[in-house]
């Protein structure tokens, strides 16, 4: 079986023994092809979402993650679905990697009953209980203490797993992150804080929002590691280490250096606070999909033609999934009043007109 040893990019650490970190990663054709598939699928989901949004078929807020795919795919390559995951509203990549189909993802964004949340949540609110994906939080930074709570539950139940808590550089200054970090450190919880640093919190560059932009140091006493997260193998190896560390020692503070190609959300063109050259440069030099594609091609694991066929097929599959989701039924009026409470007990749920209320 062919294996490939790849040198990893340099890392920066805070109160963490850097010699513990791997400097190279071993991978295989099978792995690389899977990473390529998954990352390219996520990118196609985002590109397709963009088109449907612009056609007013996806509503409200929609935050796309293209440019950051290596993180979502790389993280899952280092952990299992028994490890908890929670994030903010830029959550399509995680939803896919935690087991949702493109069809169910699109159906949710189209507000269909076949969506992952029956159309009740939309783009910002994907969840999957069976794969321990806890969303999908729309309030900046609020998922962080909740993620530490998931870590608490894991430790309480003596499970050998970690809670991966994702937030952006913009959220990094929220006070509740510091509160949760202090408790995680005190109680040695298996909480892995993961700052996706894509350089901008909405339209504000990190230097204008953070007095300390070394996000990997912001856990204070919690050891920190900063990596180049456009390299999927670096992400994977870091998560493997984080899992072992988290279960054995407690919290770890990761900074994933990344970049978003799009604006903050669909309503932000994303060019008023940075220039196009900057975006183009990252696309040309740090694209996570291109990195894996080059590993495949340079090592002759597949031909250009084969890669193109795979891309065409994924593109086609994602397009079809969206088109099919479009045809699905919307939630019926009675669904308005369901899921407020469990169905174990009946409660009167009041409707707009009192006469339309129901015991649900």
């Amino acid at each position: 079986n062919f294996t490939l040893t790849v040198k990893l990019p340099p890392v920066t650490t805070h109160k963490f023994d850097a010699t513990l970190l791997p400097t190279e990663a071993v991978t295989s054709k099978e792995e690389l092809m899977k990473y390529f598939n998954d990352m390219f699928t996520i990118r196609r989901i985002e590109i397709t979402s963009d088109a449907y949004y612009k056609n007013a078929e996806i509503r409200g807020f929609c935050h796309l993650c293209d440019g950051q795919e290596g993180i979502y795919v790389g993280m899952e390559a280092g952990v299992t679905h028994d490890d908890c995951l929670i994030t903010a509203y830029r959550d399509h990549g995680q939803a896919f990697m935690r087991g949702e189909t493109p069809h169910a993802i699109f159906a949710e964004m189209f507000g269909k009953i076949t969506g992952t949340s029956k159309g009740k949540g939309g783009s910002m609110h994907f969840y999957n209980k069976t794969t321990n994906f806890y969303g999908g939080n729309g309030i900046v930074g609020a998922q962080v203490p909740v993620g530490v709570g998931l870590a608490f539950a894991l430790k309480y139940q003596k499970k050998p797993n970690i809670s991966m808590i994702m937030y952006g550089d913009g959220a990094a200054n929220q006070g509740q992150i510091a509160e949760a970090a202090n408790i995680a450190a005190l109680w040695k919880l298996p909480a892995i804080f993961i700052c996706e640093n894509n350089k901008y919190g909405m339209g504000t560059a990190i230097e204008r929002a953070s007095a300390n932009t070394d996000f990997y140091t912001r856990g204070d006493t919690i050891p920190g590691i900063k990596i180049e997260a456009q390299n999927i193998l670096a992400v994977r190896e870091t998560m493997k280490l984080a899992k072992k560390w988290g279960v054995e020692h407690g919290p770890l503070w990761l900074e994933f250096s990344t970049y978003r190609y799009r604006g903050h959300s669909m309503s932000d063109p994303g060019v008023s606070y940075r220039n196009k050259e900057e975006i183009d440069k990252v696309r040309a030099t740090r694209d996570p999909i291109e990195y894996v594609k080059h590993l495949i091609l340079d090592n002759k694991l597949a031909s250009e033609a084969e890669i193109e066929d795979i891309q065409d097929k994924i593109k086609d599959d994602v397009n079809k999934a969206a088109a099919e989701a479009k045809k699905d039924p919307v939630p019926e009026a009675k669904e308005l009043l369901t899921d407020v409470f469990s169905h174990n007990r009946k409660y009167l749920i009041r409707n707009v007109e009192l006469k339309d209320s129901a015991l649900i």
Binding site: F61, G111, K120, G122, G138, N173, M202, I349
Partner: protein, 329 residues
């Protein structure tokens, strides 16, 4: 003059910042980005970094800082991208600001406006779609304003900024870009509406409809429908939710003998519940020919799907239905 609600808020802030050097705007993306919803467009370019302050995404921090600045003699306009995010910092609105005059025996107080988007919006789901009108209205020491059109927005925001109290100013995203033909008088730099006074938007003798914010428009639409059925509805735009203009509501009910309340907040302990209590506690009770009926959003978190969202908040058809029932028609 033709104006949008957003332009009204923008121009009111612009003029008040120009008028009083103590007034400044603070919030997320309010300066260089011109506001997440472009409400503060051009203010930073015009007034500079000493008057228009971009903050990190740290609601508890900047709200507390704004509160402190108000105690220190400044007059902050503290913008929340939406009031949903003010839940991160509600302690500073309630505990650090609203109560301080009382706690200090009248010695210390803050003059501050907390403003931003409130209420259900379009397609943004449960965490970004919620009305806080009744929450803030329940707090002693807060004034709560809820404009409907550009006249309200300009006149009430200027009043709020000049007021010597903490004011919660609840805007509505769906209304931001609605254009209205307004009386030229609202352009006056000193156009101030009285706090605590409602406005009768439409005169009627058969039934009173009480509403605020976007629901005023829904109620006016319903009143048109009712007129076709021979029912003349009087539509009251509350404008101020705390202190409530009880006099205008009671006088209207004395005339019409019937009342319906409309809001897009939740039913339990809502503004409609307060109006209902007013009917029980005042002489209006003796004039009622039928029980009040409340229209509210359904008692569920805001759904994302359009098919559900459309029936989550009151529509004109619901208001018409309720008015017909209350009129025994």
């Amino acid at each position: 003059v033709s104006m949008t609600v957003k332009e009204a808020i923008n121009s009111a802030m612009d003029e008040e910042i120009t008028r009083d050097s103590r007034v400044f705007l603070i919030g997320e993306e309010v300066a260089q980005y011109n506001g997440a919803y472009k409400v503060s467009k051009d203010l930073w370019a015009k007034h500079g970094s000493n008057r228009i302050w971009d903050t990190p995404i740290t609601e508890a921090g900047f709200t507390g800082i704004a509160a402190g600045a108000s105690l220190g003699g400044l007059k902050p306009i503290c913008e929340f991208m939406t009031f949903n995010f003010a839940m991160q910092s509600i302690d500073h609105i309630v505990n650090s600001t609203a109560k301080i005059r009382y706690m200090s025996g009248g010695k210390i107080h803050g003059s501050i406006v907390f403003r931003g988007i409130n209420g259900p919006a379009a397609g943004v789901a449960a965490q970004h779609s919620q009305c806080f009108a009744s929450w803030y209205s329940s707090v002693p020491g807060l004034i709560v304003l809820s404009p409907y059109d550009p006249e309200d927005a300009r006149g009430l925001l200027k009043a709020a900024i000049r007021e010597d109290e903490p004011v919660v100013f609840l805007e509505n995203e769906i209304m931001y870009n609605k254009k209205f033909d307004c009386d030229d008088k609202i352009l006056d730099k000193d156009f101030i509406l009285p706090i605590g006074k409602a406005k009768i938007m439409r005169q009627g003798k058969d039934i009173t409809i009480v509403a605020h914010s976007r629901m005023v428009g829904v109620s006016l639409e319903a009143a048109e429908e009712l007129a076709k059925k021979g029912i003349e509805a009087e539509v009251i735009n509350l404008r101020t939710l705390k202190p409530l203009d009880t006099e205008t509501i009671i006088n209207s009910v004395k005339k019409t003998n019937r009342i319906v309340s409309v809001e897009d907040g939740w039913p339990h302990g809502g503004i409609g519940a307060e109006i209902c209590a007013l009917m029980m506690e005042s002489e209006a009770f003796d004039y009622l020919d039928a029980p009040l009926e409340r229209l509210t959003s359904a008692d569920v978190p805001a759904p994302y799907a359009k098919s559900l969202e459309e029936i989550f908040t009151p529509r004109a058809v619901n208001v018409v239905n309720a008015c017909l029932r209350v009129c025994n028609k």
